[in-house]
């Protein structure tokens, strides 16, 4: 009997040696499968119980699947293959290989297992149970993060700055050094947001004044530089230490623009400079600058000189003599006008009745005092706009036209009255049914009577005399009459800044308390620093920067460092929250 096949099995011992067993098979047909009845029994779950057959057909060996599950021939999957044993082939069933070869014209099938069950995974136990291998290693991620951040957040910004350090302005783009900003720039400097080099001239060099002055060419000095140096208090213990540290690291210790105008503090208007920057000098300045006219000021709530409004103290011809005087509450102002406030503001008097008949309501402050466009102050009171509705200068009606004396021009008044006096027309007592003050009317009792001719308005009881100071220093054209001009102050505080709009939550008489009660036309009705004789004062609401007052007020709320006609800064919160905000923020 000649063998049709030689079957060779290779198995591995525990110590790794291969044991090979050969046996000749006389059948022309070999069955391959997991079932034990197969001629090639493969203990392999990936193999069908009856998986395939190997049939010898003359010189060929035909491998064919018994079911629909294929097998591998030299790495390719198939269900049927005609093989030349002489050339050899490798068949793969699950994790077994069947190697076909030929010995003495007899095909040899060598069966070997490629892997063993449950041992394919060669794992280190402790490593397998841990997260190692599931995540990138700690060391590699640490290095990656480290280098990534140094590149993106250190090297890149430095390169960007180096590239643009001499540029006047950078084109609109995203710049790496922007990530180094310590906060948004203030509103005024917003345009420089991308241009770090606009202020930071050189790396590691503090911002220099020269960079500020390059744009701000018209900024006034606060005072003479030498006097400023003298005025400054010598540094105390901690400040000396700070200055020591600053000098040690090459940081300027002198006053720089940025000391007060600190940038990168947030978008919006630049915050007010802290009180300490002013009181460094002003708290005890008198000691170092004995000749200064300024009193020491340390804190608005506790240590601030009395307010000294600019008032008219007298007249030199038609020129008011102005002076800054203390003494609010008792101060009298020589403004050239006779205006009894109480009489006009009385709710039940004749004035009120007339106001009701004309405008439907009694007079209020706003009837005469009109705010300026910015709301900070008030327009001057004007005869034509504010007084004439009642204090009419009309004297004749011709047809439907009313003739009126010209206010502010005594010569014309005299000329008009001279001309009219000769016409013989009836004296006007009432115009449009109204009683006209200053002229004798049908009701009578008020006015000069007209019999005294052109002098009547200028004399006691006359229309001009009622309100103005009149003397006989005038020329012939005004028949010798001279009406002194009226001085109306619109800004009493020359060193400070008072904003009415910021106070529009208050009533006028909250501060101008005597406006309803005093008929003294010369009384200055301003609030004092503390409670004045009328019981009103700034400190009712305002206190120092660190006080518990309703409105914490640093110097900069009212004062401007760079002397000029401009409005001083206000604390950010007041601007943000609108005028009249109660909560002032001392701390940005």
């Amino acid at each position: 009997m000649t063998a049709s096949f030689i079957l060779r099995t290779v198995s591995r011992t525990a110590d790794g040696r291969d044991i090979v067993r050969s046996s000749p098979v006389s059948d022309n047909r070999l069955t391959i499968g997991r079932d034990a009845s197969n001629s090639i029994h493969l203990q392999d779950l990936a193999v069908d119980p009856f998986h395939a057959t190997l049939t010898r057909q003359s010189a060929w060996v035909v491998a064919e699947s018994a079911g629909n599950l294929g097998f591998g021939v030299d790495g390719k999957a198939t269900t049927k293959a005609v093989l030349d044993a002489g050339k050899g082939a490798e068949l793969r069933f699950g994790s077994h290989t069947l190697t076909l070869s030929e010995e003495d014209d007899v095909p040899v099938v060598t069966v070997a297992r490629v892997g063993s069950v449950a041992e394919a995974r060669d794992l280190e136990d402790s490593a397998a149970f841990s997260l190692r291998g599931k995540l990138p290693g700690k060391r590699i991620s640490a290095w990656t993060f480290l280098l990534l951040i140094l590149a993106a957040c250190l090297a890149w910004p430095i390169m960007t700055f180096a590239k643009w350090s001499t540029a006047k302005e950078r084109p609109q783009a995203v710049y790496a050094d922007k990530q180094w900003t310590s906060g948004p720039l203030s509103k005024a400097h917003h345009g420089l947001e991308k241009d770090c080099q606009a202020c930071h001239a050189k790396p590691f060099e503090p911002v220099q004044d020269a960079k500020c002055i390059a744009c701000h060419t018209k900024v006034h000095d606060h005072a003479d530089a030498k006097r400023q140096m003298l005025a400054m208090a010598p540094p105390d213990g901690f400040k000396r230490f700070q200055n020591g540290v600053k000098s040690a690291v090459g940081f300027p210790t002198g006053q720089r623009c940025v000391d007060c105008h600190n940038e990168h503090q947030g978008a919006g208007p630049m915050p007010a400079t802290a009180q300490a920057f002013c009181t460094d000098c002003h708290a005890t300045m008198k000691e170092r600058l004995p000749d200064t006219k300024l009193a020491n000021a340390k804190d608005f709530g506790t240590s601030h000189p009395n307010l000294r409004p600019v008032v008219s103290t007298g007249w030199q011809g038609d020129r008011a003599m102005l002076a800054r005087l203390a003494g609010i509450g008792v101060l009298r102002e020589d403004n050239g006008l006779k205006f009894p406030h109480a009489l006009h503001m009385s709710a039940g008097g004749g004035v009120a009745r007339m106001a009701i008949s004309i405008g439907g309501k009694p007079l209020v402050c706003a009837s005469c005092h009109k705010p300026t466009a910015d709301g900070v102050r008030f327009e001057k009171v004007e005869m034509e706009r504010n007084c004439q509705a009642c204090h009419s200068l009309a004297f004749e009606r011709i047809g439907g036209t009313v003739r009126t004396l010209r206010h502010g021009e005594p010569e014309l008044v005299v000329a008009d009255l001279r001309a009219w006096g000769g016409s013989g027309a009836p004296i006007m007592g009432t115009i449009a049914g109204r009683r006209v003050p200053g002229f004798a009317g049908s009701a009578g009792g008020y006015g000069p009577g007209y019999g005294r001719g052109v002098d009547a308005p200028f004399m006691k009881g006359g229309a001009c005399y009622d309100c103005h100071v009149i003397d006989r220093t005038g020329g012939a054209a005004s028949h010798g009459w001279h009406v002194r001009p009226v001085f109306q102050q619109t800004r009493y505080w020359r060193k400070g800044w008072f904003d009415h709009k910021a106070h529009d939550t208050e009533k006028c008489e909250d501060c101008h308390a005597t406006a309803r009660t005093s008929n003294d036309a010369r009384l200055l009705m301003l609030p004092a620093l503390d409670k004045g004789p009328d019981g009103k004062g700034c400190r009712d609401c305002h206190g120092g920067e660190a006080s518990h007052a309703k409105v914490k007020s640093s110097c900069a709320m009212c004062h401007s460092y760079h002397t000029g006609p401009v409005r001083p800064w206000r604390p950010v919160a007041v601007r943000r929250e609108g005028v009249g905000a109660r909560r002032a923020v001392a701390r940005p």
Binding site: Q43, P49, A118, F129, K138, F145
Partner: protein, 290 residues
């Protein structure tokens, strides 16, 4: 943790011997609290707090915070050398934890609560991530080891793995007579890597694509309707799959605890270096644009 019998029968008699023993030493907690208190008082008393950091408090708190960060990072070096007593690693770790927590207060005050899309906030954020991951680690180390030993039930990892391999070999053997489809299921279970799945599977202990569970489900469909005949090879396979499932559940719980004990370090360590890089860049940046 004190006076609790462990699985080995050894009794922990001294307080602070467990995984969180370093926390019971309150010296460093007090030092850290004092540090925070001083920082808060100085911050409140600072006459000119600014968001630009260029104040005495800003420089002082920044220097302190940066120094602390460097020192905290040194634990990685220090832990490789164990010593006893006052300079013990336990004492050092206690200081690491408490001073690390105090950094939240100090660095926040240093920031003056001014945050934005900047490098400075990035450095702060990374530092906070490091601290919070550390805090997570502390909590895990205080709670998990006890659960872990309860779950292991006196078996070692090697024993668990050997048991699994043994079940796999038995499965392979038992499944030889069964049909192709069932055998395929069993094979998939055997070939299924018990350590497979990603970090998420590890952390949640949830393996929706477990081949063993799938195999058992599939086999249940065949065996479910039939009477329990002990000689049916499918029954044997089913029993083995059941056993494997139970073992896998324990292994996975074990791996979940282990993952929770380990995961924070994968954040804590690399982000520490990221934070150090960001703080370096931050220090350069603030003096670059002085």
């Amino acid at each position: 943790m004190a006076l609790r019998a462990t699985q080995t029968g050894r009794v922990r008699v001294r307080a602070g011997e467990g995984h969180q023993g370093y926390l019971t030493k309150l010296l460093w907690a007090k030092v850290a609290a004092a540090l925070c208190l001083v920082a808060i008082m100085l911050y409140v008393a600072d006459p000119a707090p600014q968001s630009s950091g260029g104040t005495a408090f800003g420089y002082a708190s920044g220097t302190l915070a940066a120094g602390l960060m460097l020192w905290l990072t040194m634990l990685g070096v220090r832990k490789r050398a164990t010593t006893r007593g006052r300079w013990s690693l336990k004492n050092w770790t206690s200081a690491h934890v408490w001073l690390g927590l105090s950094l939240i207060v100090i660095a926040t005050l240093h920031s003056a609560f001014d945050f934005g899309w900047t490098l400075h906030t990035l450095a702060y954020g990374l530092m906070i991530v490091v601290i919070l991951s550390g805090l997570f680690g502390v909590i895990m180390y205080a709670t998990i080891p006890a659960k872990m030993s309860a779950n292991r039930d006196e078996t070692t990892e090697a024993q668990m793995l050997e048991a699994l391999r043994s079940i796999d070999r038995q499965l392979d053997d038992a499944a030889q007579p069964i049909d192709r489809e069932s055998a395929g299921r069993v094979l998939a279970s055997i070939n299924d890597d018990p350590f497979g799945g990603g970090v998420w599977n590890r952390l949640t202990g949830h393996y929706p694509r477990c081949e063993t569970a799938a195999a058992q489900m599939a086999l249940k469909r065949y065996t479910g309707g039939r009477a329990d005949a002990g000689c049916d090879p499918l029954e044997r396979v089913d029993a083995l799959l059941e056993k494997k499932q139970a073992l896998l559940a324990r292994m996975r719980r074990h791996m979940q605890w282990k993952a929770l004990l380990e995961i924070w370090l994968y954040v804590h360590v690399p982000v520490t270096f990221a934070a150090l890089a960001a703080v370096t860049a931050h220090v350069v940046a603030v003096f670059f644009f002085w």
